[in-house]
């Protein structure tokens, strides 16, 4: 058993499940956006605004943003533990990573909810 402190989950299984679950939700949101663009070839501001004003899109979007941040956290943490060997560089990278992921969540909520 290897102990880690900067990973998202406290077990390998936790991170693994989050990564796969978030990938599914992100894919669904992407398909939803593709469907929106495909069914509205002549898109304008009113259409765009109406789409993002619906509670469904707001909720789905915020959920996707949160899960995307967690996905980035898990994925980039793995990359950093593979390739960044000096402790100081790894620690700084992981600290910035956590701040970045949390910032995306708050900024994303503000944007989606602000429409």
């Amino acid at each position: 058993m290897v102990t880690t402190v900067t990973s998202l989950g406290r077990s390998g299984l936790h991170d693994w499940v989050i990564q796969r679950l978030s990938a599914i939700v992100m894919a669904l949101f992407t398909f939803y956006l593709i469907w929106f663009f495909a069914s509205n070839p002549h898109i304008n501001y009113e259409l765009w605004n109406a789409f993002f004003s619906s509670t469904l899109v707001k909720g789905f979007g915020i959920l996707t943003i949160i899960l995307m941040s967690l996905h980035i956290w898990v994925g980039m943490w793995i990359v950093s533990t593979d390739y960044l060997k000096p402790l100081s560089i790894r620690l700084i990278f992981q600290a910035l990573l956590v701040i970045y992921c949390l910032a995306i969540i708050f900024w994303g909520i503000q944007i989606f909810w602000g429409v």
């Binding site: 058993m1 290897v2 077990s11 390998g12 299984l13 693994w16 499940v17 943490w77 390739y83």
Partner: protein
């Protein structure tokens, strides 16, 4: 036939080098790479490599042959082309020439407790197993610990101290799948961290190089499934 072989003697060399050799191979013979290495060693006794059984059982002569890990004793020269490049197994410290320090590999093997654990009272003769349960161990117990798989795995290269590696995980599953073992939960708890199992990205280098034709990636998938059914 031309050979380019990795040479490094830490006592005398400041850095490793590739040394070129020419060897006359008798016409019509289809010897194994190990036979050629033994012939080269007759010409140059300083050339160092491990070998023992010379028939793919002991796993001593694992090396990187034309970029792919394998056992020299069961690799026919006829399949290697005109020039053969031989290097030590990647990712492990080189002791000398083609001999690597396997300590890190064995430490990971030891971590998975590769022996039967059973808390129940031992029976008078032996712990019996049905033929069906015994069949579940096929494809798992045959590993000869040659390290070809683990040393072809980038996850093992980057984290050899934390990632158990394909060889160790194959053995972990060999005991998880054993109907006589009673310590499944403790074994799984030991593996449920971000490195031991989950650092496997499923690229299947281990399957591609295993000289015994085993499938560590499949075993790792089974371990993941067991962790999943234990955790949800």
């Amino acid at each position: 036939m031309k050979f380019s072989i990795y040479r490094y003697n830490p006592d005398t060399d400041s850095r490793p080098k590739m040394q070129e050799y020419d060897l006359e191979i008798p016409e019509g013979s289809d010897m194994m790479l190990l036979d050629a290495l033994v012939m080269l060693k007759d010409k140059d006794p300083s050339l160092t490599f491990r070998r023992a059984c010379r028939e793919g059982i002991c796993g001593s002569d694992g090396m990187n042959i034309n970029g792919k890990n394998g056992l020299a004793c069961i690799t026919p020269l006829s399949k290697l082309g005109k020039k053969v490049t031989i290097r030590p197994l990647p990712g492990l410290p080189v002791v000398r020439d083609l001999v690597v320090d396997m300590a890190q590999f064995y430490r990971q093997y030891e971590k998975v407790k590769p022996y039967l654990q059973n808390r129940n009272e031992p029976p008078a003769r032996e712990r019996l197993q049905s033929p069906e349960d015994r069949a579940k161990l096929d494809g798992l117990y045959e590993c000869i610990l040659c390290a070809c798989c683990s040393t072809s795995c980038p996850s093992f290269w980057w984290n050899p101290d934390k990632f158990v590696g394909p060889a160790g995980l194959l053995q972990a599953y060999r005991f998880l799948a054993d109907s006589r073992d009673t310590e499944k939960d403790a074994r799984l708890a030991d593996l449920d961290d971000a490195y031991s199992v989950f650092r496997c990205r499923g690229i299947m280098n281990c399957v591609s190089v295993c000289p015994k034709g085993l499938n560590p990636t499949k075993a790792i998938g089974h371990v993941r499934s067991m962790l999943l059914s234990r955790g949800v």
